[in-house]
């Protein structure tokens, strides 16, 4: 039994967290005085962020916490980090714990890069001397040798993230809490992050990883929990957790918004001689049952044009174009159009998209595509749900036949 306990890095026992949300925050004297006279019953509502959550994380484990927005996973991470106190229940941690709720905590734009390294380092528990010894390493890893005496406010956001990450990787911790740090930064930086994770894994560190990204969870985590509506609904095997998470989206029609959607900015330009009025994608929920995906666009002609070319493309959230086409490539030549003409274009595409999120771009141009009438970038965000995620870009229906001698 004692041996078993030694193996546990974090044990979460029956943790619940309630937030009291006042209808109006009583943060001024007036509302405080008037409020305390008539309040008590209706002043606030109780939000259950976590209810009776229990699990153990073993030493050396890579543990995933998965859940939708507002499910309570960030609250759980903050409780693990000791930032929030649980309303009931308790948490025991064994070993030095360093949270990365955000990179570069305490960074001050008015200080130089060098000073920020020392400040950020102190927050992670390093003395000046300790940072002195690893300072060169930190700077080299961040590739910022020339910029260390400049104020942080003159750094690009990429440089700031690099510096923060470089300090973070030097944190000597037994347990690391990582909250979607990977969501920031470019592909190159993300690769660095994942390499660091691999290193941590090899060193036998305990890592708690909160994410939306099922690929990362599948690849790195040994075990995971799925949190939904403030409770753990699946615990254990990563494959089981990830497929339950994906299935949750398939079943729930009310959710068609996701994080990525809000991150993508709509961008639209063109002469508007021909203009798109609306765009829709069928079916509303694209699962592996859907054989075809249909994109409908309604257009309207604002001034006479001859032979416009309509086109679309679908790209993944990293910006790589998966496929696309236009009416010229499809040899569907358009006749001249007059002002006030309206119509609909329908694209039918076999559903070969892999599990994940995609964006649709549509455009209409003149006959030789030198003038853009209406280029509508990131016009529509779509999610494709498949129970199995593979590492291939597309999933066409492939037939395989094996014949033995």
């Amino acid at each position: 039994m004692t041996d078993d306990q030694r193996e546990v890095a974090i044990s979460v026992n029956n943790v619940s967290k309630f937030f009291k949300l006042p209808h109006e925050k009583n943060s001024s004297i007036k509302s405080w005085v008037t409020g305390s006279l008539k309040r008590r019953n209706k002043g606030y509502e109780v939000q259950h962020a976590l209810q009776n959550v229990s699990f153990d994380i073993k030493k050396g484990e890579f543990f995933g916490i998965v859940g939708r927005n507002g499910s309570g996973k960030s609250t759980l991470l903050k409780i693990l980090a000791g930032i929030y106190q649980p309303t009931s229940g308790n948490i025991k941690t064994h070993g030095r714990l360093v949270p990365f709720i955000e990179l570069g905590v305490g960074f001050n734009p008015e200080l130089s890069g060098r000073e920020n390294v020392y400040l950020n380092g102190a927050l992670l528990g390093f003395t000046r001397k300790e940072i002195d010894t690893m300072y060169d390493e930190i700077v080299e890893f961040a590739e910022l040798e020339k910029f260390m005496d400049q104020k942080l406010k003159n750094y690009s956001s990429g440089m700031q993230v690099r510096l923060a990450f470089s300090v973070a990787t030097h944190a000597e911790a037994d347990i690391l809490l990582v909250d979607e740090v990977l969501a920031v930064g470019d592909a190159d930086f993300q690769r660095k992050c994942f390499n660091y994770f691999k290193l941590l894994k090899n060193q036998g560190k305990t890592v708690v990883f909160v994410s939306h990204d099922m690929n990362a969870v599948r690849e790195y985590c040994d075990r995971a929990v799925l949190i939904e509506k403030s409770k753990i609904i699946v615990e254990g095997n990563v494959g089981k957790v990830a497929s339950s998470y994906t299935r949750m989206f398939m079943e729930d029609d009310s959710i068609d918004k996701n994080d990525a959607q809000t991150k993508i900015k709509k961008n639209r330009w063109g002469t508007k001689q021909v203009q798109y009025n609306s765009l829709s994608v069928e079916p509303k929920r694209i699962t592996q049952q859907a054989k075809m995906i249909e994109i409908h666009v309604d257009y309207e002609v604002k001034s006479d044009v001859k032979g416009p070319v309509f086109g679309f493309s679908i790209k993944n959230t990293a910006g790589t174009i998966m496929f696309g086409t236009n009416t010229r490539l499809q040899h569907k030549d358009m006749a001249a159009m007059k002002e006030g003409d309206k119509g609909t274009i329908t694209w039918r595409i076999p559903n070969i998209l892999n599990d994940g999120d995609y964006v649709v771009d549509v455009a209409v141009a003149n006959s030789d595509e030198t003038v853009q009438y209406d280029w509508w970038e990131n016009a529509k965000y779509i999610s494709v749900f498949r129970e199995q995620h593979t590492s291939f870009a597309v999933e066409p229906a492939i037939d395989v036949e094996v014949s033995n001698g």
Partner: protein, 269 residues
């Protein structure tokens, strides 16, 4: 277990040091005179009050030997108290970004703010000493008590800062209220006038407040034995225990209150 506690205090110490350095660097960043301002500010106030009292209202200033040093010492003490408390009010809320993302001993923030004021106080006291030399103050041996009074001032100011910073998290009117209180207290405390020009009842009440008691004691031991202290006003040196006892009880209460509420800071800032 002891190891764990050592680690905890070690961490607080590292953090305290770094926050004090940062505070120090940021405060006068971009200003041409930089740190000199922390000396110039009380000196400017001193110059104004000096002109008003010595040139236009000599009745007041003539009653006290070495009035300029007396005045400057009062201003320096008051300046420290107001700097610690005014910085203190918003210190926790101002570090909300940190508190929401990291678990660390919150008292370090308030303490760090009071340390940079303490450095200012030390520099200002040197200026007072120089002024005392120039105006020929005959400092008595009793001046050795000064550090004890400074410690009392430090503890009291810090306790007020702890209480205000924790209150401000819950109630965002606190900084305005404190501003008004400090404006009134500047005149209620015998900084610019000799305490014995006001009615005896008022003297007896005023001298019980720690800033007034500390200020008068410091003046008494450093500048002139003519400065009234709590001992001379009440006619008993035992009365000294009242403000000291009050400071001790208040400090325990303020720290208890801060500790109790610091666990909830992350959710409320």
């Amino acid at each position: 277990m002891t190891r764990k506690y050592l680690d905890k205090y070690h961490y607080s110490l590292i953090l305290l040091r770094e926050l004090v350095i940062t505070d120090f660097k940021l405060r006068y960043q971009g200003s041409a005179l930089g740190y000199v301002w922390s000396l110039l500010r009380p000196l400017a106030l001193f110059a104004i009050l000096y002109v008003v009292f010595v040139k236009f209202l000599p009745v007041v200033s003539d009653a006290i030997p070495h009035y300029p040093v007396y005045l400057l010492l009062g201003i320096v003490v008051w300046n420290y108290f107001s700097e610690v408390t005014n910085n203190g009010v918003g210190s926790i809320v101002g570090r909300g970004d940190l508190i929401r993302k990291l678990n660390f001993p919150k008292y370090v923030i308030v303490l760090a703010g009071s340390f940079s004021a303490l450095i200012n106080l030390a520099l200002n006291m040197i200026v007072v000493a120089i002024f005392a030399l120039i105006s020929g103050v005959d400092m008595s041996i009793t001046a050795v008590w000064a550090p004890i009074l400074i410690i009392e001032l430090f503890v009291f100011s810090l306790s007020v800062a702890f209480l205000l910073s924790a209150l401000f998290v819950k109630l965002r009117d606190v900084n305005y209220i404190w501003e008004v209180i400090m404006q009134g207290a500047f005149y209620a405390t015998p900084i610019i006038y000799p305490i014995n020009i006001i009615p005896v009842v008022a003297q007896k009440i005023l001298i019980l407040t720690p800033p007034a008691q500390i200020m008068q004691d410091l003046r008494h031991i450093i500048v002139t034995p003519h400065a009234a202290t709590i001992g001379t006003i009440y006619g008993s040196e035992w009365m000294r225990l009242v403000p000291i006892g009050f400071v001790a009880i208040f400090a325990v209460f303020a720290m208890w209150y801060f500790r109790k509420h610091s666990k909830g800071f992350a959710e409320e800032v």
